[in-house]
Symmetry: C3
Subunit: 263 residues, 3 copies
């Protein structure tokens, strides 16, 4: 694994661009810097004519623990006139014009789950697991997943994932259709790069046109869903259930984190 001081690592394998979430000590939780780093890396890959396919994965033991809770509901503090954080990130993901493959190398929480229905293919390590804890945190669904999650796994499974906030183990993720393939942890990147490489051998103009046409059939709905979600989410942030839930969740997350670190 290449070492890096950056919270996002970028490398290329032929025409495959690999973007790695790289805050392993924070289980790759998204702060604004990481959002902005991934957004920049995605935009660069979209514009680069030598990139045909993009893979997103995480370093260390997690895919991503999700939104950094300290930042929940906090507008970016930058004063540079640029847009930062979650919204530019998800706008870039939801309209990404090239095949986008996720390699879920470890636990995915929050955006670690809701990112996946934006990806064309998802491969997952057999010991990884996913969770959408929004409702238990006193908030609600995000990232266009009020449209995309039922499309990906059906209404009942989407409802159950969101309402119960249960952890979902890799085999169930596969059965639900939330991921396309589950592989042994040690084979994850090789398997991902194998399918990514086969796709990257295709004519880029045809890949881009096909991805844009697939997106065109749902993108208006995805954006409308996200635009309904944002004020609804914001209205719940800081309410009594959210405050109480975050305290409890942070305690539990710290315990989980300790267990993971020790496990």
């Amino acid at each position: 694994m290449t070492s890096s001081e950056n919270c996002v690592q970028v490398e290329s394998d032929g025409r495959v661009r690999i973007i790695r979430l790289n805050r392993p000590d924070a289980l790759n939780a998204f702060n604004d810097e990481q959002y902005d780093g991934v957004t920049a890396a995605l935009s660069e890959a979209a514009d680069d004519p030598d990139v045909a396919v993009v893979v997103i994965t995480g370093t260390g033991r997690a895919f991503t623990a999700g939104q950094d809770l300290q930042q929940m509901g906090t507008p970016p503090t930058y004063n540079d006139g640029k847009r930062h954080g979650f919204t530019p990130f998800i706008e870039t993901v939801e309209a990404f014009p090239k095949p986008l493959i996720a390699a879920v190398n470890g636990l995915g929480v929050g955006i670690g789950l809701t990112l996946l229905p934006h990806c064309d293919l998802v491969l997952m390590a057999e010991d990884a697991r996913l969770r959408a804890p929004f409702v238990s945190l006193g908030v609600t669904v995000e990232a266009g997943n009020s449209q995309l999650l039922p499309l990906a796994v059906g209404w009942a499974n989407a409802a159950r994932i969101l309402y119960t906030t249960d952890w979902i183990q890799a085999p169930e993720c596969l059965e639900l259709g939330l991921v396309w393939k589950v592989v042994a942890s040690g084979d994850l990147m090789a398997e991902t790069l194998s399918i990514a490489g086969r796709i990257a051998a295709m004519p880029v103009a045809s890949l881009v046109t096909t991805k844009k046409l697939l997106l065109a059939a749902r993108l208006e709905g995805t954006r409308a869903a996200r635009e309904r979600e944002q004020p609804a989410f914001a209205a719940l942030v800081g309410g009594p259930a959210n405050r109480e839930a975050i305290s409890a969740f942070e305690e539990k997350r710290d315990a989980d984190f300790t267990n993971l670190a020790e496990g």
Copy 2:
């Protein structure tokens, strides 16, 4: 089982509201009184801040045998200026703002099937079965199911269910995704109340916001589908195929009913 003179029984289990169709001698077939009773119970549960989740089930051996055929195409006879019957019922169901769980305790015919894609989760007794007999009755799909049934089970399965009007046994309902879980008949309410209770422990504001966001991504389409279905259905009621089919169906239903009563 609580005894009741009403065609709809309502009770609470913590923050779970249970609504039981209760015309067991008529296999819980919907007449206007039962439609209005369920509509009132749903509206009350939606408005009650102490209700987080609603369960709908039937008493006796059926979930519901569907629309009372004597009433098919007959406008309500009430003269009280209020709206009655099917339309207010389905309008209430299709936009229901809290998690709605069906416990299919026995046979479901007509609306006994088309109600299910409106529910967030459906549990089904292993000896129950479902049927959408509309086409064989000379009428057509209803209750927004021209949109919702393909979403729930895919186009081919929706088409086959509607075109053939075959009975669908519980294991196939599970395989198709028409129901979420099949359980032994004796465990149905315990399993249903277990998942309902786990969801009901979540913050109600988050559950309601999440349900409304999920609905927002499909509700306009559901309503448009239902509004196309209603005149198309009405145009077929009383036609020669409908008259002939109802006579034959009533004979068969009476025979089925006799078999069930004796079985």
Copy 3:
């Protein structure tokens, strides 16, 4: 098998109309004559009150090898003021007002795959296989499949089918939901006519109304998808990737064809 000089054979089995693609020496590849023949046969079946269900299948060893590549991007050469070829064909298919069943008797390439999500039910011979080679040909998705294919098989499977252009064997087609039933090759027509006959016994007015209502919930989207696809496809035809890919594909197809002929 009835012999025929026509590239489309039409026969009836009770209220079931059977349309057979009949250019077996060309693996039933579509030229304008075959498009026009199927379009005419479908229109006649739609208008005939004695036809309740339509089956489409192929003669010989292929379902259809797809668009005749010699004609790709070539406007029809007829000078009779009528519309010809692919567009009237797909417009007729996408809005077909009666149950439409495909019996995939052998390999299906291109429109041989993208036709299937337009059908209500698809039965497939166990030794048949399908492929959407558009991207490898330097072109893109067609026939409304930027909407329909994700609806039929989910986003990830649609993306993978289109991006990789891999052959899909019958068991995987079944698993993906691209087909409804896989049967032994020798049983294909008997099984198809069995389900077609059961549906054809239903009141035609109810079948037509039900099919139209099901279509109404997606048809606007299908047409919009197709109208986005057509200029995008045309913009890629004749480009360098397309020219190079067609040469390579034709060599490979000739080899495949030789293998099939010898196999």
